[in-house]
Each structure stands twice: as C-alpha cells, then as structure tokens.
Assembly symmetry: C2
Homo-oligomer: 165 residues x 2
C-alpha cells in the first residue's frame, strides 16, 4: 500500500472497480487535476480510469461538460447544481460507469461572504443518479485541494462499494 494516504485510497478504488467492469471519469475545477493524478499514480489504473476534464473556466464547463449556461448564471460555478451537472457531464462524455466532480473556492482569492474560501461541492454520478455534498475547508490553497481530492476519492470508493454490493 502506498505511503501517501491519498494514493492508498486510489488503490482501494482500483481494487473495487477492477474486475467489476466499473469505469471511472473525473471532472475537476478547484482540484485542477489532482484527483486524476492520484488515480493514475497506481500502476494498472488504465484498466478502469477512462479520463478526466479539468474545467477551470466557465467556458470549459459549458463546452466540455455540457453544464447549462443558465445553471452557471443562476447558481454560480461553485454550487451544488453545477457540481451535479459536471459529474453527469463527465459520465456521459467519457461513457463511464461512475464519475466524480469537484468545484470550490481554493483560495486565497475569489472568496465572498456568500461563498467563502474553502467552500467546496463534490458530486458522484452513476446509473442510479447523482449525489452531492458540501464542505468548508479552512486550510491554505494546497491543503484545500488535497482535502477536496481525498473527499472525491472517498465518495468514489463509497459509491463503488455500493455498486458492487
């Protein structure tokens, strides 16, 4: 098992998905590719990981993940609604069984009273639907990215366990 607890989580995810024909895709905003990087640290990850989209701009969320412009305008990029649309978009675009998305305010800038630095939504979509959760991290930019990535991997593991049950 990897010494990095986040890579160890990716190893658990791989063990769950491999052999069950469960494929995974990612849609990342504030984590900026970290979730995909952790997944692909594990040898053999190409057996279940199809790919991911890092949609840092709103344009990329629209054009590559099919997040509706009205949803972005009404709720903002850091919202439960956009997180859900990103996860569903990634699942559809990659033809994956399971997809996770992360959108949040990594900091140090970009926060507001309504959406403070550290506010993060993580969503997981599979054939049964989409779940979304809200978090508020209090670390610096790097720490917030790692907390969000850890949560994304945990939710994938949880959903993959359920799918396998």
């Amino acid at each position: 098992m990897s010494a990095d607890p986040l890579v160890a989580l990716a190893e658990r995810l791989q063990a769950l998905c491999t052999g069950r024909s469960l494929t995974v895709a990612t849609a990342e905003s504030c984590t900026g590719g970290l979730v995909a990087h952790l997944i692909t640290e594990v040898a053999g990850s190409s057996g279940y990981f199809i790919g991911g989209i890092v949609s840092y701009s709103d344009d990329a969320k629209r054009s590559l993940l099919d997040v509706p412009a009205e949803v972005l305008a009404a709720h903002g990029a850091v919202s439960a609604q956009v997180a859900m649309a990103m996860a569903e978009g990634a699942r559809r675009r990659f033809g994956a069984g399971l997809a996770v998305s992360v959108t949040g305010v990594a900091g140090p800038a970009g926060g507001s009273a309504e959406k403070p630095v550290g506010l993060t939504y993580v969503a997981v979509a599979d054939g049964a639907g989409v779940d979304v959760r809200r978090f508020h991290w209090t670390g610096d930019r790097g720490a917030n990215k790692r907390e969000s990535a850890r949560t994304a991997l945990e939710l994938l593991v949880e959903r993959a366990s359920r799918a396998a049950a």
Copy 2:
C-alpha cells in the same frame, strides 16, 4: 518561490503568461493530470489556465481531443503524431493560445521492444505551429510522471518566452 521545483516552474510560466493575454490548456495521457495539478497549485492560475483533458483511453483521445482514428491506428497512442494531434486538439477545444500534450508509457507494464517503458512524447502548440520532442525516462512510474510533467512545463515556459519576445 515554491519549494517544489515543479511548482516553481509553474510560477515562472504564470508570470510569463499573465498580463500578456497568453492562455494555456493541457492534454495529458501518461502524466494523468499532474501538469494541470502543478499549474493550479499557484494562486491566481485561473487568470491564464483555461483547463485540460486527461485522455487516458484512446476513445477519449478521439472524442475529446479530435485525434484522428487513422493516426492512432497507424502510429499508436505513444507517438509523435498523436502527441501533436493532442496538443492541437486541446488548443482548439479550449480556445487557448498555447497548449501542451504528453503521451508515454509510464510503466511498469505496457512496454514493448519498440515502445519501452519510459518512452514519452511532449508537444507544444501555438498559433505558429506545433513542436514535439521525444524522451526516454528510466525511473519508476511516479518518477517518470514527474519527469514528463517537468518537461511539459519547461517547453511551455520556452514557448511562452518566445511568444513574448
């Protein structure tokens, strides 16, 4: 400056691109999101980084980066031709000024006599065209990913310096 030399490289890239209206996108295969992760470790990266695609499967290279099926069939995913098509595809899909791509055999499996573990192509595309370079890393999976990511950032810095000259 960051203590991680790869994040320090991303800081240099950001300083070069910011204020020159030079935007950047990524297309990653064997680095699996590491280049985008390093770029987004730097506060303010959303000012020039639009996003990236982690195209781990051949299907993703075709459907999300418009790599022609004939090119994949003729040269294989780890080839100069596919690296160039990935960089051009990312530049077009994200509407970025500059795009980098990485495709290689990260290992430990997947190597062959013709395409050994560690063989990696990195391409950079801008409005003037696309450059591609070939490398052969000799580390383990994690080390090969970091070498490839370092090279991708170095080539982006080189091209951004030229564009700014």
